[in-house]
């Protein structure tokens, strides 16, 4: 297909991506416990580059140990991490693919704090616990805010030093920056709380600090919630930021110097609307156990997942908002509103796989590009399939979210055994390919996974 909108290059201020398909933020527990990177992650990322996406946005990369979601994720909290990221970037670049590192801080939302964080609460805008797992936190002091802003700036500097193509601020899905932005979470009474402008100050100061650190000619994008939907799970929670507020934050971010907006929704992660699709109770029963001691509601949740009789209670809450939204292109309508109000390109995430849908959202002005995670985990060659003129792979992603639930305990991969004709061993073998070649094997890195 000539002139396919999906395969038109996307020109940002400081970066050009060969097509409109971005690998969205996703990874497994592939790295060393202390956040130093491994060959496995290089294998992982390179496999997507080989599959043909235009750019890869890394998974959540903590800028500080205290802001880590869970151990075994590569971090960018110190200069000695730069060589790893350089090696990773080089591997990706060999496939004409760009690599954007997502600068992140979990705030209170630490699914598994790890032994280093075991005795500290998470840092946040608030001292009120997270409403899903009961993850405890304490409100950051002004000094801690100042330090954290600098951690982000340092992370950006290291990414540039590593030769990566840009950075993304993770300001959505309930992590630290969302915890400042969201009216449902931020209960501060100082200059970082109260009205929207105050709540956005933390984000905008980070953007300015990054610009100060890396200059104006380095790609910087922000992943933002168009809408928070903070009461999607429990109706007694506050709603959080509205679409109008989401648009306003995007405009301010643009003014502060970002080159693109990555639009999503949901002020916790996972959220009933994002990633859209299932929330398999059997997998929750098997793997949520690793999170029981992370939050004070862990055991309560586990009880709900464990007993079949209780599952419908949780499912009722999980499904109450979801049923009003599509799975595919779940946030596209909100993205369109954001796009109308900013002049930088926007990328939209949430339920993209079908080529016809992707073409439509791009050509009809909903977004300039889409970012995809789960369908690419299922079919690394999805870009090639779409380019061949097919809209869907033979065995497409079902959006079952089994990968999501497994991620807290197991190597990431596609856990939908139906895609392997019910053959569990074949499914596991496919998942384990990410470990090959290993650091000590002679084969070319990432040559197996595809």
């Amino acid at each position: 297909m000539d002139n396919d909108v999906i395969f038109q290059p996307l020109q940002f201020r400081n970066l050009t991506v060969k097509n409109r398909l971005f690998r969205s933020n996703i990874s497994g527990r592939f790295d060393n416990y202390d956040g130093s990177g491994t060959q496995t992650r290089i294998n992982w990322e390179e496999s997507f580059a080989r599959g043909g996406v235009g750019a890869i946005i890394s998974s959540f990369v903590p800028v500080h140990l205290r802001g880590r979601i869970m151990p075994n994720y590569a971090m960018i909290d110190s200069d000695d991490k730069v060589p790893f990221w350089r090696a990773l970037g080089d591997a990706v670049h060999r496939h004409d693919c760009k690599y954007i590192l997502q600068l992140s801080h979990s705030g209170r939302q630490r699914d598994n704090p790890g032994v280093e964080n075991f005795r500290q609460k998470g840092l946040s805008s608030t001292s009120r616990m997270d409403t899903f797992h009961g993850l405890l936190c304490e409100a950051m002091t002004l000094q801690q805010i100042k330090e954290t802003i600098q951690y982000f700036a340092d992370g950006a500097r290291r990414a540039r030093e590593a030769g990566l193509d840009g950075v993304e601020l993770h300001a959505s899905h309930g992590y630290l920056i969302t915890q400042f932005l969201s009216s449902a979470i931020n209960d501060r009474t100082d200059q970082y709380g109260g009205n929207l402008q105050n709540r956005a100050a933390f984000l905008l100061e980070i953007i300015r600090a990054i610009r100060k650190e890396v200059g104006a000619d380095y790609h910087l994008q922000a992943k933002l919630n168009a809408v928070d939907f903070s009461n999607a799970l429990y109706p007694w929670e506050k709603k959080g930021n509205t679409l109008a507020e989401g648009i306003q934050v995007a405009k301010w971010a643009e003014e502060a110097g970002v080159d693109a907006i990555h639009v999503s929704i949901g002020s916790i992660f996972p959220h009933p609307l994002l990633p859209p699709g299932g929330f398999p109770p059997d997998e929750l029963n098997w793997w949520y156990g690793t999170m029981i001691s992370s939050g004070v509601l862990g055991y309560f949740n586990y009880t709900m997942f464990h007993f079949r009789l209780l599952r419908p209670i949780f499912t009722f809450f999980w499904a109450r908002t979801k049923k009003d939204h599509p799975i595919e292109a779940v946030s596209s309508q909100y993205c369109r509103e954001v796009k109308k109000n900013v002049s930088v390109p926007v990328i939209n995430t949430g339920g993209y796989q079908d080529g016809s849908v992707i073409r439509r959202v791009i050509s009809e002005g909903y977004t300039d590009a889409v970012s995809i995670a789960r369908p690419l985990v299922a079919n690394r060659d999805l870009p090639q399939i779409l380019q061949s003129g097919k809209d869907l792979p033979d065995k497409p992603c079902s959006f079952c979210n089994r990968c999501l639930v497994n991620a807290v305990a197991n190597p990431l991969g596609c856990y939908d055994v139906r895609r392997f004709d019910g053959d569990h061993d074949r499914m596991v073998a496919k998942i384990m390919e990410v470990f090959h070649p290993s650091q000590f094997s002679t084969a070319a890195p990432g040559s197996q996974l595809m």
Partner: protein
């Protein structure tokens, strides 16, 4: 602290002290409270359920007459939920709705069986309510068999006379209806709940749950067992009891002793006899009580009668029975409610003193003793239904309890009864085979062969109830003296008196 001391503190203590995360601290802070709340809720639920299923309460009536009519003597099912004992009636909601569930089996409702209803009471006289085993239960009390009605004319309001034999009550049909409808396919929880709500009852969620999950099913099983045991005694070929009568001992043989009634000779299976009156018990103490005089203790006789109503030593309400005992101990017989010809009565007294008093007056030489069957020669079935082996078994009943029987004996005739309130005790003889006093004074061959029992309009001339009018026939049921057990022979005393003296005598007997 030395290494040795650390080791001595033990692993648990070390772990607690060294590793406590914020999550631990939070949970330790609230866990006690949460556990307390959970335990409190569980405790409340347990207490509620215990209260619901273990509590035993019934309405107390300060007025003794109300207590007699509606108070519980403990005849409702009791014991425990797992092992219920006693009772002969289904729970309140079922009992109340049975006539609506099976209207074809009892078109006239319970009143058509001779149960007496008063305004502002949804249960008839003689049916008590009591909360037991998590359900409002109903039971029979003394008044069901010992409350009668009397009218002067067909248009009069009935007088309700407490302690009087329930001459209008067809107890056998009542039991048969309850058994039959309880086993009817139409008796379902849904139907009972709907009918009860139609009748204005509020049926709580818990009651619906109990009815739907266990109660109806258990009721049917218990009723089946009841039917298997005593159904044979309540159906042909055993002659029907008819109104105003009960076969005291044959259901007893099956219910209490689990005897196979089919194995007994028919001569022992027919024993229906009249309900007696309850008044004036004190002077009866020591007399031979029951028609055949098989017991000389008023208390034992009372208790034995209450067993027939469904009481057991486990479920008996002793205080309640004691109140009734104390009341009937001195309860005066009802005064004759119509006019009495005083001159005739005076002449009749002389005849009575001469002809009757020795056997039938308090203080009479033979009053309260057993008259040999050969001498009285009335119908033998009732006497023969109470057998020696049955008597022996009664002595073995509840041997560990304070209620063990020690006064029953087998006799060879029928007891001479004091005749207090005799006007209200019609029909006469132990089996009610003679409708009026005047007829009793006739030669047996001249006594009515067939008559109606259960009609409550009074025949002042013959002293007894009207038994041969069309109204009587439509209200009562026919009594046939040719049926085994119904014989009207015997008791020839007074039959040879001149007619005028007979009139004088029965005029005097109205005053007793």
């Amino acid at each position: 602290m030395s290494d040795e001391m650390i080791i001595k503190t033990g692993e648990g203590k070390l772990v607690d002290e060294v590793y406590e995360s914020p999550v631990d601290r939070w949970q330790h802070r609230v866990r006690g409270l949460v556990m307390l709340i959970v335990l409190a809720v569980i405790a409340l639920i347990v207490i509620y359920l215990l209260w619901y299923f273990v509590s035993d309460h019934t309405r107390e009536y300060s007025d003794i007459q109300e207590h007699f009519k509606y108070g519980s003597i403990g005849s409702e099912p009791g014991g425990t939920v797992l092992t219920p004992v006693g009772g002969v009636l289904p729970p309140y909601l079922v009992f109340k709705t049975l006539p609506k569930v099976c209207p074809d089996k009892l078109p006239g409702g319970y009143a058509s069986l001779g149960l007496v209803f008063e305004p502002n009471h949804d249960m008839p006289i003689g049916v008590s309510r009591r909360w037991r085993l998590g359900v409002e239960q109903v039971g029979l009390n003394c008044a069901v068999c010992h409350t009668g009605t009397v009218r002067e004319t067909p248009n009069s309001q009935p007088m309700i006379v407490l302690g009087m034999p329930a001459h209008q009550l067809d107890l056998e049909r009542f039991f048969n209806f309850v058994i039959s409808c309880s086993l009817d396919d139409r008796l379902t929880a849904t139907n009972v709940i709907q009918k009860a709500e139609d009748m204005g009852e509020h049926v709580s969620l818990m009651q619906k749950l109990i009815l739907s999950t266990a109660l109806i099913q258990r009721l049917k099983l218990q009723t089946l067992e009841q039917q298997n045991r005593m159904g044979f005694a309540l159906n042909p070929p055993i002659p029907p009891w008819g109104r105003g009568r009960v076969d005291t001992f044959n259901p007893y043989k099956s219910l209490q002793f689990n005897w196979n009634l089919r194995a007994l000779p028919q001569s022992e299976l027919i024993g229906a006899s009249d309900f007696p009156s309850l008044w004036n018990q004190r002077p009866r103490e020591g007399m031979h009580l029951h028609w055949d005089g098989n017991n000389t203790s008023v208390d034992e006789r009372n208790l034995s009668a209450s067993l027939g109503a469904g009481v057991t030593p486990v479920t008996v309400d002793h205080a309640s029975l004691q109140r009734i005992h104390d009341w009937i101990w001195t309860l005066a017989p009802p005064r004759y409610p119509f006019a009495i010809d005083q001159s005739r009565s005076a002449r009749g007294k002389a005849i009575f003193d001469q002809q009757c008093a020795e056997c039938h007056s308090f203080g009479g030489g033979k009053t309260g003793t057993v008259e040999n069957l050969a001498s009285i020669n009335t119908d033998p079935y009732r006497l023969n239904s109470y057998t020696y082996i049955f008597c022996v078994n009664q002595a073995a009943l509840y041997p560990e309890s304070r209620y063990r029987f020690t006064h029953f004996s087998k006799t060879d005739g029928y007891a001479n009864q004091p005749l207090d309130g005799i006007w209200a005790r019609a029909p006469y003889l132990h089996n009610g085979s003679v409708p009026t006093l005047l007829d009793l004074l006739q030669d047996p061959a001249s006594r009515p062969k067939q008559f109606v029992r259960g009609y409550d309009v009074y025949n002042q001339e013959k002293v007894g109830f009207v038994y041969d009018t069309p109204e009587a026939r439509s209200a009562g049921s026919l009594y046939d003296t040719s049926i085994p057990g119904n014989g009207n022979q015997g008791h020839l005393w007074g039959t040879k008196l001149p007619p005028d003296q007979k009139r004088d005598l029965i005029e005097y007997m109205k005053t007793l």
